[in-house]
C-alpha cells in the first residue's frame, strides 16, 4: 500500500513538472507516449514510464539529443487499447511529435502499432512480448523483450533437471498469456516434460475455485500460470484457501514485483517467475549497476525489468538517432534494424521482422522474502528450492 502511495505522489510530481514545462520555442525534440498510468496495467506501465522519464532527465543533462532538448509528451491511456490507439493518432497528427515511445502490454501495443506503422514511426516495444505482434509483416516495430514463448524456458529447464515430469498450464484468454502458455507447451516437450492439461480461462477474472480443485485432482508436480498480476494474486489466494500447493509453481509478471512478497508474505516463498531482468549485481551487462543506482536515486524505488526495458528502449533510440545524425525516421528505423549492442537490459539484436533475438529472459525464484536469480545457471544467485515437493 505504501508503495502505491509513493507511486501516486511521484506520478503527480512528474506530471506536474511536465505540465508546467515551458514550451521551448527553438530546437527541441518532441517524443510522444501514451501509457497506462491508471487502470489494470498501472503498476508495470508506471515502471516503464519512469524508465523513460529517467532517460529524459539524463539525456537533457548531458546536452540533449543531437544538441536539442528532449521533451516527452505523455498521455494516460487508462489501460484501454482503443483509447491508446487514438492517443497515438493525436500525438502524431496533432502534436506532431518527432518520435514515439511504446505503451505497455501486448494488447495495447498490438493496436497502437497499427497506427505507428501507418505513419512509419519506429516503435521500440518496451512492454509487450506476444509473438503475434511481429507476425503481421510490419517494418517499423522492434521488440525489447524476449518473446513470451520463451518466458518459461528457464523454469521448465530447472524442473526437468530436478526430475519433475508432470506440468499443468493455466492462462487467461488474452494475447500475452496465451502466447506464454504456448511457449510452455513447446518447451515442456523439448525437455521431456508432460503437459497434463492446458486450461484457458475467459478474460476478466472469473474466480479460480473450480480451476484449483480441478488441478488438484490432476495432481501435477508443477503448475504454470500465465496471467496479469491481479489474476495471479487471486489464483494464489484461492490455492492458499484450498491449502493446495504443487511442488513447483511459476507465474508471469507478478513475481517480479516487490509487492508480491509484501502481499503474500511467506506464501511467496518458492514461487518462480520469468523476468526479463533483475535489479541485481549478477546481471553482467554494461551500465546496469549505474542504472539501478540512478533509478533508485531518481524515484526512491527499486527498478523492475519494466523500468529497465523502458530505459533500454530509450538507450536504443538514442543510439540510433546519434548514428543517423538526424531525426529522420526512415534512417533511424534502418539503424535500429542493424544494431547489435548491449543495453542495461542485455543484448539487443532484432531479426528481419523486428523480433528480439538478442535478449533472453531469466528466471527468478522467491527465497526467504527475496528474489533470487536461478536461471540461467551462470547468473545464479541461489540454487532453486522446492518447498512444496513433499506435498
Amino acid at each position: 500500500m505504501m508503495v502505491t502511495g509513493r507511486f501516486r505522489l511521484l506520478l503527480a510530481i512528474l506530471l506536474f513538472s511536465f505540465l508546467f514545462h515551458p514550451f521551448c520555442a527553438f530546437s527541441s525534440t518532441k517524443i510522444g507516449v501514451a501509457i497506462s498510468l491508471t487502470g489494470k496495467y498501472k503498476e508495470p506501465a508506471t515502471m516503464v514510464y519512469l524508465g523513460y522519464k529517467l532517460w529524459e532527465t539524463q539525456v537533457n543533462k548531458n546536452g540533449g539529443l543531437l544538441g536539442d532538448k528532449v521533451k516527452l509528451i505523455v498521455y494516460d491511456d487508462e489501460s484501454d487499447p482503443e483509447k491508446s490507439a487514438s492517443l497515438y493518432n493525436k500525438l502524431i497528427t496533432k502534436d506532431k511529435v518527432d518520435l514515439v515511445l511504446s505503451p505497455y502490454s501486448s494488447s495495447i501495443t498490438y493496436s497502437v502499432s497499427e497506427v505507428t506503422e501507418k505513419y512509419c514511426y519506429p516503435l521500440l516495444i518496451a512492454g509487450a512480448s506476444d509473438p503475434k505482434i511481429w507476425q503481421r509483416g510490419y517494418r517499423c516495430i522492434f521488440g525489447m523483450y524476449a518473446l513470451a514463448d520463451r518466458y518459461f524456458t528457464g523454469f521448465l529447464d530447472i524442473i526437468a533437471e530436478y526430475g519433475f515430469r508432470k506440468v499443468v498450464v493455466i492462462c487467461e484468454n488474452d494475447r500475452f498469456p496465451l502466447s506464454a502458455a504456448e511457449g510452455v507447451e513447446k518447451w515442456s516437450d523439448r525437455f521431456g516434460l508432460k503437459v497434463l492439461e492446458k486450461i484457458v480461462y475467459p478474460k476478466g477474472n472469473p474466480g479460480f475455485v473450480n480451476v484449483v480443485s480441478h488441478i488438484k485432482s490432476l495432481n501435477p508436480e508443477a503448475v504454470v500460470l500465465c496471467a496479469y498480476p491481479d489474476d495471479v494474486y487471486n489464483f494464489m489466494e484461492t490455492m492458499r484457501k484450498a491449502s493446495y500447493r504443487p511442488a513447483a509453481f511459476a507465474a508471469t509478471i507478478a513475481p517480479t514485483f516487490k509487492e508480491f512478497g509484501i502481499k503474500l508474505g511467506r506464501y511467496a516463498e518458492g514461487v518462480f517467475g520469468p523476468s526479463q531482468w533483475e535489479a541485481n549485481a549478477r546481471i553482467p551487462y554494461p551500465g546496469t549497476t549505474k542504472f539501478i543506482h540512478d533509478f533508485e536515486k531518481f524515484t526512491n524505488l527499486t527498478p523492475t525489468y519494466h523500468a529497465a526495458s523502458g530505459y533500454a528502449a530509450c538507450e536504443i533510440l538514442e543510439k540510433a538517432v546519434t548514428q543517423a545524425g538526424s531525426v529522420d525516421r526512415q534512417k533511424i528505423t534502418s539503424e535500429i534494424r542493424h544494431l547489435d549492442t548491449y543495453t542495461v537490459l542485455g543484448r539487443f539484436k532484432v531479426d528481419q521482422c523486428g523480433v528480439q533475438i538478442g535478449h533472453n529472459p531469466i528466471t527468478i525464484q522467491w527465497q526467504k522474502g527475496k528474489r533470487e536469480i536461478v536461471w540461467p545457471r551462470k547468473m545464479q544467485t541461489a540454487k532453486p528450492i522446492f518447498p512444496g515437493r513433499n506435498r
Binding site: 526430475g163 523439448r190 525437455f191 521431456g192 515437493r389
Partner: protein, 908 residues
Amino acid sequence: MRKFRPKKGILYQLIITVAVVSIVAALLISQIVSRYIKNKYEEHFLGRAKDVLELCFTSCDDAFQFLLSERQEEHQQVVKAVKKDVLLRIKNLSKTRGDSVHTFVLDPMGRVLISSIPVGERIDVEYLSKNPTAGFSTYKKVRFRSETGRELIGFTRYFPGWRWELIAAVDVEKLVAISSPAQQIILLGFAIEVSIIFLAFVLIFSKRVYKPLKSLGNATEELKEGKYKQLNWNRADEIGLLANAFDLLSESLEQREKKLSETQRAVLESERRFRDVFENANDIIILLNGKGVIIDINKKVEDLLGISKREIVGKSLLDLMPKDSVSAGSALLARVIAEGKANNFEILLNRKNGKQVHFEASCKKYKDEKSDDASIICVLRDITEKKKIEKEIIATKNLLENIIENSVDALIILDSDGYIIRVNEKFKDISGYGATRIIGRHFTELLPDDIEVEPLIREIEEKGLLVEKELTAKISTGEYIPIELSAKRIYDANRDHHATIVVARDLREKKNLQDQLLRAQKMEAIGTLAGGIAHDFNNLLTAVKGFTQIMLLTVPEDSEDRQYLEQIEHAANRASDLTKQLLTFSRRVRSEKQPVELNREIREVEKLLQRTLPKMIRIQTHLTDKLTLINADPSQIEQILMNLAVNARDAMPEGGVLKIGSDVVYLDQEHCKRHLKLKPGEYVMLWVEDSGIGMKPETKDRIFDPFFTTKEVGKGTGLGLAMVYGIVESHDGHILCYSEEGKGTVFKIYFPSYRDIKKVGEKGGGEDKEEFPRGEGTILVIDDEESVRKLSVELLKNYGYKVVTARDGEEGIRIYRELQEEIDLVILDFIMPGMGGDKCLEKLIDINKDVKVILASGFAMNQSLRKLLENGAQGFISKPFSLKELLKIIKETLYDESPPGGKRAAYQ
C-alpha cells in the same frame, strides 16, 4: 603366622583379560581402518567423478544457452554441429581431467552417444541413491558394467536441453587395487605393536605391583596381632602411597591406644568433681529424660520441697506441679526439646505440706551419647520472695505513673546532670514538645537565654528544693511564657545519684486575666475621673464662651480688645473639643444606636481617606461578603475608623499600605475564656492594619490611656485611641491590638452582630442628597494626569454619570468628534502638554458652538483663564477639587441653559 596368599592371583587374572581384549581390539581396529581407507579412496574418486560430471553439464548448458541467445535452437544443422562439439569435449574431459574417471552420454532412449571406454550400445544403470524422488538432487549415484565386464560406479545427471543423461563413473577394481597394499602394511604393523605392548605390560606389572602388594598384605596380617611395623618404602607411585598410608595407620593406632587409657582416668576424676558440685548446689538441679521423668535430682530438693530424693526419682516433673500450671510445665518441656534450651521460665511446684513455691527454671537439652534419647537438665531457683516484691513494685509504679500523668502541672524529671529523663502529658500541652523531642535535652534549653540559672541551681543544691519561683520559659513555638516553678532533689539509697523533680505551672492564663482585670479597673477609674472633670469643665467652658461672645457684641469693631477676645473664643473652642473627646472616652456622650451595615461605613470612610491621606499610603479594603450588620452609632463608627486611620498614617511617615477589612466570626467558649468581658456568640469584626513602625510592648500596654502619646507636643493629644476605646465599650464591643516593632500594627474590634434586623434601607436623608447631588449624562474628561482621570471616572460613576476620558487635547478632540451626540459636558484641564486647554477649547467650539465646558486648573483664576471663560467655557473649578464641589458645578452647568458667558466658578 598366616601367609598372605589369595586363591586366584591378580597377575593371572590381568594377563588373561589383557590378552583377550587386545586381540579382539586389534582385530576390530584393523577391520575399521581398512574399511575407512577403502571408503576414503572411493569418496575421493567419486568426488572427482562428480566434478567431471559438473563440467560435462556446464559444457552442455553453455552450448545450449548459446543456441538460445542466437535463436538457433531450432536450426537442425547448427544444433547438430554444436552437439557434436559438446560430445567430443565431454569425451576429452575424461582424459584431461580424471585419469580414472570415465564419461558417458545417453540419449533419451538410453542409447550411448559417447563413452570414454567401450560399453556397448546401451548401459543398464542401477540407481544407488536412496531417494530418487523428484526435486531433491540433480545427481544420482549409479552402478553399471562395461562391455569388458568391469564394474563402474559414479553419478548421472539429466540435461533437459537435449534430454541427455550424463554419466561420470570410476572403475571399482582399480579402486581396490590402489587401496589393498596399503591396508596389508598397516595390519602387520599393528599386530607387532600389540604383542610388544602386551609383553612389556606383564613384566612391569609383576615387578612393580604384584610383589609389593603381597608384602603389604603380610604386614597387615601382623597388625592384627598388635605388632606395629613400619615398611618405609620410598616410592612415589600409588603403591608407595599405600605403603605410606599403612605406616601412618600403624603409628597412629599405637598412639591412640596409649591416649585412651589416660583419658579414661581423667573422666573418672572429673565425674567425681561434678557430682560434688551437683549435690551441693544452692538451687535444685534435676535431670530429666525426654518425657519429663526425673532421672536424678540433688539434695536441695529436700530443703525446698520437703520431699526426699528417693520419693521423687522416677516421677514426672509435671506431677510436682499444681494442676493449673501443668500446661505451662509441658510447654516448657516442649520448648526445651524443640529449641534446645529455655531460660528464666517461671514455674510453680508443690511443697510436701501443700504450699506452692515459685521457681525460675533454666533448662538445657543434651543428647545422650549411648542412646538416642534426649535428656534435659534443669536448674530451679526459688523466687517466691522475689515474686512478692515484684508485685508490690508494679503496684507502686502504676500509682506513681498515674500521679505523674494526671498532674495538673507539668512535671519534669532531670538526671543528676540536668538532662531531662521524663516529662508528663501536661508538659507536652504547655510546651508543645513531645516526649521524644525533649528527652535527653538539657533543662536550660527550656529557659530563655538571658536567665541566670546559676542561682537557681545553687539554691537547689543548698536547700535541696525550690519553691514557687516565677520564671519565664521558652516553648516550642519560640514564645516565652510565664511559669511558676517548684523543684526538689531526690536521692537513691546510697545518696550517690540524684534526680530532680520539677513542677511547672503555666501562668499564662492567670497573668492574662489579671492584666485584663487591672486594665479594666484602671480604665474605669480614669474614665470616671476624666468624665467628671470634663463634665464640669464643659459647663465652665460654656460660661467662658457665652460671656466672650457677649463681650464681642459690645466691643466696637476697631477696638484692640476685640483681638484678645477672639483668641479667648478660639482657645475655648479648642478646649471644648478636647472635653468632648474626653467625654466620649468616659462614655458620657450618648450614642444614637441604629442598625448599621459596617461594610457601607467602611466604604464611605475609604472614599474620604482616599482623598485626605497622602498618596504614598495605599489604601486597601478586604470586606467580607457576609452581612455585617451591627447596632451602632454611625458617626461614632466613622470616628473610630478615622482615628485608627490617622494613627496608621502617622505610623507610616515613609508611606505604606493601610488595610481595612471586615469579617463575621463566631467566638466560642474557649476564646472568650481568655478575655474578660467577651461572651460566646457571633461578632462582626472590623480590622485596621498598617505596615508602619509598630510599637514596643510597653507602649502597646498604654495606648488606650487618655493623654498617652508618643508624638511630639502639639502633634498628638493622646485622646484618639482613648475615644475609640470608649466608643467600643459603649457598643459592648471589644478591641484588641497586635503590634510588632518595625512590622506594623493591627487593631481588631469585635461588635456583637445585629442579626435580627434585615438590611437597612438607603441611608441618609435629604441633606446628603443636596451635598452630593446626583445627575445623569456623559462627561468627557480631558486631563494629562492619569490619577485625575481615574478619580473622575470612579467618583462620577457613583453619582450617575457616564465618563469618557482623553489623555490630551488631540485625543479629546477626536473623541468629541466621534461621540458628539452623546457627550453632554467636557471637563478640560487648562495646562497640558501638546495642544493646551485654550487651543482645545477653540477646536471644541468649532465642532459645536453650544458645547458645555468646565475648565480645571491648579492655578488660581488669572487673566488668560478669564479670557477663556469669556470665549466659551461655562465653568471653572480649581484643582485639587473636592467631590462635593465637582458634583455641584457639574450639576449647575448641565442644567443651566444660559448661553456661554454666564459664567460660574467654584474656588477651593
